[in-house]
Subunit: 338 residues, 2 copies
Amino acid sequence: MAEPPHRKPTSFDVARLAGVSRSAVSRAFTPGANIAPETREKVTKAAKKLGYRVNNLARGLQQSHSGIVGLVASRLDTPLRSRQVRLLSEALIRAGFQPMLLTAEQPDDVAGLIDMLLGYSVAGMIITSDTPPRALIEDCGRLQLPVVLINRAGVSDWGDRVVADIDAGGTLALDILQKAGAGRFGCLMPVKETWSVTGRANAFVEAVQGLGRTCRCIQADDQAYGDARRAVVEAGRERMSQIEGLFCSTDLMAFGALDGLRIDLGLRVPQDIQVVGFDDIEQAAWGAYDLTTIRQDLEEQTALAMRLLRERMADMEVPNRTCDQKLAPVFRGTTRPV
Amino acid sequence: MAEPPHRKPTSFDVARLAGVSRSAVSRAFTPGANIAPETREKVTKAAKKLGYRVNNLARGLQQSHSGIVGLVASRLDTPLRSRQVRLLSEALIRAGFQPMLLTAEQPDDVAGLIDMLLGYSVAGMIITSDTPPRALIEDCGRLQLPVVLINRAGVSDWGDRVVADIDAGGTLALDILQKAGAGRFGCLMPVKETWSVTGRANAFVEAVQGLGRTCRCIQADDQAYGDARRAVVEAGRERMSQIEGLFCSTDLMAFGALDGLRIDLGLRVPQDIQVVGFDDIEQAAWGAYDLTTIRQDLEEQTALAMRLLRERMADMEVPNRTCDQKLAPVFRGTTRPV
DNA sequence: TTGAAAGCGCTAACAA
DNA sequence: TTGTTAGCGCTTTCAA
């Protein structure tokens, strides 16, 4: 155990102790550098003795980027988002990057924060925010900074994307409800527009209309559990009981709907009304809800995002790409068995 | 709209355009620096025109720290943790820091990651990980790096702490169950030790023993919903129905217990058995669970953590401190009304 | 394979 | 209040 150093040791100190130059120290800590194994050995030993570690700030200053990747997320305390962030941050770390977390709800906040981020010469950005400000993304384009957007489309010209096919999602939901025997359809969605969440709800409505039927839409103030429950309760027992198959545009909203239907309105699910959600978050499998839903494969989503990021870093000239992730139905207790 | 700059502008470019020195530019971007308002004005204008922003890497290299604060968290995809991380990260950003997120489950991972973090000259660290490796924290102590630990005690000499009083928590849980009329008590806890989670369970058990009664302990493999549900089911209807008041050491485990009791074992809550959780996460208020629990005030927790961090930054000589956060009972439907 | 020297972009001490 | 100067700790040509 070395005595507590008061000043942090620099590559210079290590070089002196190891009897080599500072360049040698630098090379010893650069994977794949041209350096004799024994020199590297000497340096590593001296470094350990001194408690030296490379200063990433100085390194980033010298190289073009810092190894930091911005991770922009809104509603982080939501089950889907927190799982996404966990998976992404673990994947980034595994790939040798450092995720810098930006949690912001308002597009205005985001703008200022990204500005901060750019000051750190980030190597790239992954955005799962609800509404990333387009100006910001265009800024990244101007700086030739890799950006991966998750479940957001059409925001700007710049940026690669991983998306769940919203049309397929809407159709799949209808399919599930139809096969389960529902004939009159309803859709619960938030008023506030969001590409993915309102997008799939609209796709569902259109799919229903494609059948020559009409879809009863119930609008919630926002995407939270409470918003959904309130919306269902306000729609009232009468209106709700005319719906046989209800598609909720997120699982979270489906839970609110289920509690509203069962507890507040006294309807039985799936006997009186069948419910399908979207996302397959962990809670959907919990016994009290046991929700039939459509699964977004987050592991696959993460892997795709990382691939896009890496390919873009390797070659900035590659045209913008969009990857589709798989969607799969998960049958549980809120629809009748077929 | 300026033409796309290919090389990022530096303070030198701004200085030239504004007709001032580079120091003037630096001062213009340093809050509270000695600079004439009109000079600052000139600089800001030139900077905007060029699309200049301060390079935080270079700034951090010069100053003693980088403005980055490490945020270490495990089980980020868990409701309590994700809310903590959201609040902390927002508070950090508001205070002008940048949270760098470290998600790691194994103490071994953490060690390597912190090493990385230290390479960024972080200004401090906030740790809400389940089991922060003590060696690591002592490293921070050696480097005189501010560390705030949340709900972890006794890990090491170094570091300030925000904790929920585990003894008070255990006693409070017993109190609630007793007043609700329960006479025979049980406690559901994870086998794997954790200061806060197993700590309050033990406190509950001791409080029960203090009454001269014995407490039936049910051990789950871990802290997840599924672990809790399985544990209850394996304990069996017979054993469970001998318990009148069950304390679950987290809300998440309480949900698993509730579903196990009601769905798998066919017991009624609160008629046959009453249940109390801990944390008051969002889901506890959901209709299907409507869980009586003990609330950790996360807003207060965040505020305390930030205060400790800032005070420590201001004065490294201050002795280590521990702040207690308030605990409050929340009465809902899994206990009988008093 | 190695070392010397020249920056990366910024701030801080000093002098004007 | 401003400009000059000297680094912060590292990587990276370029010679040797």
